[in-house]
């Protein structure tokens, strides 16, 4: 706690972790249905699920269409997702941030 990590370093490390999680580690994620899907199968309402309108999107189900290798296909989709998220969310928060210096009430 004595040495403070610089803002840039913190930012770069956190972004790198996100890229590695989405681009590499995601390949090793469990492929089992999640809690809701499992319950829907168990209790019998899974068939009421419909395909999303975006089911034909080039990145649908975290796979990149046109890339056959599953590891690469998922990795590329994850990295694109992370970059889109970073641009969109940072842009949004930068736009709506408080412009005047922080007041002491918070």
């Amino acid at each position: 706690m004595s040495t403070r990590t610089s803002g840039t370093r913190f930012f770069v490390v956190a972004l790198l972790v996100s890229l590695l999680v989405a681009g590499v580690a995601s390949y090793y994620a469990s492929a089992h249905p999640d809690g809701l899907e499992h319950v829907a199968e168990q209790t019998g309402f899974i068939d009421s699920a419909e395909d999303s309108a975006t089911a034909d999107s080039p990145l649908a189900d975290y796979q990149t269409s046109g890339i056959d290798d599953a590891r690469l296909s998922g990795g590329v989709a994850g990295v694109i997702g992370v970059l889109v998220m970073l641009l969109l969310s940072t842009g949004l928060f930068w736009l709506i941030r408080r412009r005047e210096p922080a007041d002491s009430r918070d």
């Binding site: 803002g7 989405a22 809690g35 499992h38 209790t43 009421s48 975006t54 940072t90």
Partner: protein, 229 residues
């Protein structure tokens, strides 16, 4: 817990859509108080990390998996109003780009994952912060507790929505019991991930943790007192 299209009927989906839109509108105004020049990039980073972390499904037994929802995590790191916006952007990108979570179900998913988990996670965290000793070391455990509880509560809210507008005639008691059971297990994973991530940020940059703010402001003073003694 991403709800696909079709599980809930149109009126219920419209209703959750209205709830989600209202919450986003309120959050856009209220988040301004949480976001300054330093917090804004942090909030973007938190939303991005939650997106990445949600790709990691962990097994919870019997052929079932779960993943981080991140509502409590985001609320503790960047504040509850900003957290609602973080999760909304995550769910929007997932629904539009990855076909993860339905489009007509987007309001439902924002309500469950973006509002309920943030509200429960933050409420539990804030309560614990009030009753526990005022030390930085309680921030991560308090966040983990909020994270743990947020998952089964979201599962119960889904069950409530399903009771009102479920498209399939199934035994609601069985849905409630199994949803609660599995999501209590998934909540343990949510707590572990949230606790570890919050602890890491508290250890490196406590000043960037919204939920630690009063403590980080007092810390310099406390350090000085110790040195004098």
């Amino acid at each position: 817990m991403h709800v696909p299209d079709g599980f809930l009927d149109a009126p219920t989906s419209v209703a959750t859509g209205v709830v989600a839109a209202a919450a986003i509108a309120v959050s856009l105004r209220a988040a301004r108080r949480e976001l300054d020049d330093r917090a804004a990039p942090m909030a973007g980073l938190v939303a991005t990390f939650v997106f990445a972390a949600q790709m990691i499904n962990f097994p919870v037994g019997a052929g079932t998996s779960g993943h981080l929802m991140g509502g409590a995590l985001a609320a503790v790191l960047v504040g509850p109003w900003t957290a609602v916006l973080c999760l909304s952007v995550v769910l929007l990108v997932q629904g539009l780009l990855m076909a993860d979570g339905g489009i007509t179900a987007l309001g439902t998913n924002i309500t469950l994952i973006g509002i309920v988990t943030v509200a429960v996670g933050w409420a539990v965290f804030a309560l614990l912060r009030r009753v526990l000793p005022q030390r930085l070391s309680v921030v991560a455990p308090a966040a983990a507790a909020g994270a743990f509880l947020s998952v089964p509560v979201a599962a119960l809210v889904f069950t409530g929505l399903f009771a009102v507008g479920g498209n399939a005639p199934v035994d609601l008691g069985a849905v409630a019991v199994t949803m609660l059971g599995w999501h209590t297990l998934i909540g343990i994973g949510e707590a572990v991930v949230t606790g570890l991530v919050v602890a890491s940020v508290v250890a490196t940059r406590p000043d960037l943790v919204h939920g630690a703010r009063p403590l980080t402001a007092e810390r310099e003073l406390v350090t000085r007192e110790v040195e004098v003694a």
